[in-house]
Symmetry: C2
Subunit: 231 residues, 2 copies
């Protein structure tokens, strides 16, 4: 029986956009495991697997249910040790947490205060829209429309913040070296989130980070390209 | 025969300050290997081991000579696999490169344009001072004294840039998890560089990064404390 991946979607169930769900989708593809996806809108997340989790992604693998992209990756590497590794051992597992911390505090804050925020809102079905606006406006303390003002002006600063990643990718193909590891999917998920919700090109065409992202989109039979760039 | 570690020093041979040399000193201590240090001022680096390398650190281990802190760590983990690991496997080795890239593009640019720059200059013997000033002023395109202006004003921004590290260390003891890995020594080296050359406290006392740095100073019999904080 295939693994089921519960993925966050908006009104269109064929366009999963959550960065965390993309990490897991890529991790499953990396392991070469058969999986089916089950689309879940925001307001249905608490109903996944009879209230098993309040966050996505969630996977069901036979009788096992696991939530949280990092925990899922740990589970997959442990449960399927004969398939390609996501961490490359214990040191890789723990240092992937640093990559996660960097990505979520460098890329995510930019994406979640950019036009992507409104694009996500607009892509949701009505009840999810109301939920999304209410929860996010509570966090930001202002209307979504005000949060995103000036994103174009913040772009240059954002690109500079990618310097540590860029310098690395000038020397090697992936964060994982010659081949990708879960660390790549952590960062990939953030850029895929942007790609799926908005046509805005945040990376310069000649940026090695853009070239790496395209390489990631090509991986595993083009798993990342199964959802097109937002028009 | 003990390993010889060639370390960069100023006029005082007992005060090695190079971040890269500290990475190697900690790596040797982590492996529990006996080593002796050989102090080398800037202008003597090209004479190490009959011109073997143009950079420090360099180690000699029997007939083997190795330069570059990262390459040395790789050598040590390969040559001494039965001793505590520096990388925790191949994934840890390759992701340590991301930590290195982050550290050298986040912490190093701040340190090397702060009062630490002048403090290093002032700590050098006369011929090294001239060499240091000339090479650095060529890079910066201005006098050292002008480069460091406003370092206090840049401090808050620098502290913010440590957010990915700080968030990680709020959840775990070391970058390596419960115990340190070479990734810890990469970042430690940068803060130790500051500590050895200037009394300036760049981390707030209640910063978890400061607590982690103190833990690193305690490691391996207090190896990092063998050189006192600059007065």
């Amino acid at each position: 029986m295939s693994i089921i991946l519960y993925e966050l979607v908006g009104a269109d169930p064929a366009r999963p956009f959550s960065p965390h769900c993309w990490k897991t989708r890529m991790a499953l593809a990396h392991k070469g495991l058969a999986f089916e996806t089950s689309p879940v809108p925001f307001t249905e997340v608490p109903k996944i697997e009879d209230g098993f989790a309040t966050i996505v992604p969630v996977i069901r693998d036979g009788e096992r249910r696991i939530a949280d992209s990092f925990v899922i990756a740990e589970y997959l590497d442990t449960a399927y040790p004969d398939r390609p590794t996501l961490f490359g051992g214990e040191g890789g597992r723990v240092l992937s947490r640093f990559v996660e911390s960097w990505s979520q505090r460098t890329i995510h804050p930019f994406v979640s205060t950019s036009r992507a925020l409104l694009a996500i809102h607009d892509s949701l079905a009505a009840p999810d829209r109301a939920y999304f606006r209410e929860t996010r406006e509570k966090v930001f303390g202002q209307p979504l429309e005000d949060v995103v003002v000036g994103d174009e002006a913040r772009l240059e600063e954002f690109r500079k913040k990618l310097t540590p990643l860029r310098a690395l990718l000038e020397k090697q193909m992936f964060l994982g070296g010659e081949a990708p590891l879960f660390a790549d999917y952590i960062v990939f998920g953030a850029f895929q989130w942007l790609r799926v919700v908005t046509p805005w090109e945040v990376l310069a065409a000649d940026d090695v980070v853009a070239a790496w992202f395209e390489r990631c989109l090509d991986l595993h039979g083009g798993e990342g390209r199964k959802v097109s760039r937002a028009a």
